[in-house]
């Protein structure tokens, strides 16, 4: 069992299947489903990843979908080191210092 009632979880479901999508959008987008991700408290007694479940969102809406993640958290950060940026400040400071003294 991956999650029990009341756990904070993330679910996923399909809003529009391939074939139901708007024909006025690029082909690559038409060839994939329109998916949706929502977070909330698990309403089922217990569930495993992949199970169809019901959740109550933070504001109290009930949404159905497949259980994707328990205790979801943000993994975005400040990125990796980008050496290409290093010249910018030094070069500008040098240009400003030239006849500034």
């Amino acid at each position: 069992m991956d999650a029990k009632r009341g756990d904070w979880v993330r679910i996923r479901n399909v809003v529009l299947e391939v074939g139901q999508r708007s024909t006025s959008i690029p082909e690559d987008t038409q060839n994939v489903p329109l998916e949706m991700w929502v977070k909330g408290f698990l309403l089922d007694e217990s569930a495993n990843i992949g199970d169809k479940v019901k959740i109550e969102t933070y504001i109290g809406r009930t949404v159905e979908g497949n259980l994707l993640e328990v205790n979801p958290y943000y993994k975005h950060d400040f990125g990796k080191f980008v050496p290409e940026l290093l010249y910018i400040g030094r070069q500008a400071r040098e240009l400003l210092a030239k006849d500034g003294e």
Partner: protein, 472 residues
């Protein structure tokens, strides 16, 4: 009775859902022809400038500091002819509660929703507006749902959009994340219908009137500080609301001689609704993918008539590459000590170049900054670009190919802007307005409307209509 929730059925219910969710009967402003009464819409459904100042003041929105960027000005002058190089200023909108000027729009929309008795607000946005609405909803005790276009079909999302989701959740909002595609609007309508919440659209008269205080403040601050209005105000342009609201505010202050310049990052060649190209762009806002389509057909938004109509106010419209904006973002931190997100720095990039055409005693203002942080900083954005196969180069920005590389200018002299042909945009606006109602003949009222709508003249409008084979 169960309602038909199929795509077509929900889309067909759009007019009634919208009427419920915005509380505006847009038909009151329609002429039945091309023209609609824009000013009447702004007047009768909006608030006076004083009322908005009061509404915004209650939640700490507005009255943001104006900062002179002395080092950046000095640097610009090194690459300008003698006597040229206007003083560059920035309005630090990042000091609004949610970290961007969008708090101005959200404050009025949420106030209005609360006044009309709605229990919650919904907004469709992947950007700063989401956190602004979530923040204002929290302050006003409203529930909030933000609908985001977030991931491609591999489940990969841009760090900037994911950071906005985090901010929305921090303010207690529910975030509904979707994969790429304009059918987001379907989910948006379903949510409005299900919850009965207010559509805190970016394009309602309240939202746009909320930005008018920004333009008004600029005029007042510069009159007090420098004894005159700014000569030029540069505005990052995406959906057009920032530009429209700021320009209207300046006009309301009587600053009719201030030139309005729109600035967008050029993403030529990338399709905004393409699943595979979605993560190939390194800008989530302030780019031509929003800027051009919304400017030339404002009513493609989520309300029947958009209050954001930038072509009515734009004097010049310039574009630049992505690399130059990343460069200016780094420069702003390095020599001005201001670490801010990239959106406002689009206008800053334009200002750096435009200042070099202007006289030394003139004033150019960048009217916006936005907060930065994990995901929204240039480092994660460039890291993400690199992970999606985009090359990061240092060289001549004019050689940048969106979706293939990002070129940081070799030195400040390589910062370049491109002039967009405004008459071309004006013509396409007229074409879109005509095509929308399949008009073959227009009225005298329509002609006058199109002159206003395109900030042109009767001769230009008539000439364009002749080309389209439309009689008048």
């Amino acid at each position: 009775m169960t309602r038909d929730m199929s795509y077509d059925a929900v889309m067909a219910r759009r007019p009634e859902i919208m009427k419920e969710a915005v509380g505006i009967d847009y038909e009151l402003f329609e002429s039945g022809s091309v023209a609609f009464d824009y000013e009447k819409m702004m007047r009768e459904t909006g608030y006076s400038l004083n009322e908005i100042e009061e509404i915004q003041g209650k939640t700490g929105v507005g009255n943001t500091p104006v900062l002179e960027l002395r080092n950046l000005t000095e640097l610009a002058r090194k690459f300008a002819p003698k006597g040229k190089g206007a003083r560059i200023f920035v309005k630090d909108e990042a000091s609004n509660p949610s970290g961007s000027f969008k708090a101005r729009r959200a404050a009025t929309a949420c106030y209005h929703a609360k006044k009309l008795g709605y229990k919650g607000v919904i907004a469709a946005t992947s950007g700063n507006y989401g956190s602004a609405v979530a923040s204002q909803a929290a302050m006003q005790g409203l529930k909030c749902i933000i609908v985001q276009e977030c991931y491609d079909s591999r489940g990969v999302g841009q760090p900037e959009i994911i950071e906005k989701a985090r901010a929305c959740e921090a303010y207690g909002a529910e975030v509904v994340q979707l994969s790429v595609g304009p059918e987001l609007f379907y989910t948006f309508l379903v949510l409005l219908e299900e919850t009965g919440y207010f559509n805190a659209s970016l394009y309602s008269p309240f939202g746009i009137a909320g930005v008018e205080t920004l333009g008004y403040e600029l005029s007042m601050e510069f009159r007090e500080r420098e004894g005159k209005d700014p000569d030029v105000v540069v505005i990052t342009n995406a959906g057009g609301g920032n530009l429209t609201g700021t320009a209207r505010g300046l006009i309301k202050a009587g600053a009719t001689h201030t030139q309005i310049v729109g600035a967008s990052v050029s993403l030529q060649g990338l399709h905004m609704a393409s699943d595979t190209q979605f993560n190939k762009k390194s800008f989530t806002t302030g780019h031509t993918g929003f800027g051009i389509p919304y400017a030339t057909w404002p009513d493609r938004s989520d309300v029947p008539r958009s209050a954001a109509r930038p072509i009515r106010y734009i004097d010049r419209y310039v574009t630049m590459n992505q690399g130059s904006v990343f460069y200016m973002t780094e420069l702003l931190a390095q020599i001005e000590g201001l670490e801010r997100g990239p959106a406002g720095n689009t206008a800053l990039t334009a200002a750096f170049k435009l200042a070099q055409e202007m006289d030394e005693d003139q004033i150019i203002v960048v009217q916006e900054t936005e907060y930065t942080g994990a995901g929204k900083h240039i480092n994660p954005q460039l890291t993400f670009a690199r992970e999606n196969g985009i090359k990061i180069l240092i060289g001549d920005p004019s050689e940048e190919v969106p979706g293939e590389n990002i070129i940081l200018p070799k030195d400040p002299s390589y910062i370049k802007i491109e002039e967009l042909d405004m008459n071309k945009n004006r013509k396409s606006l007229i074409r879109n307005a005509i095509n929308h109602i399949h008009a073959t003949k227009v009225t005298k009222e329509d002609l006058e409307f199109l002159v206003e709508e395109t900030k042109s003249n009767m001769e230009f409008v008539k000439e364009t209509l002749n080309e389209l084979g439309v009689s008048y």
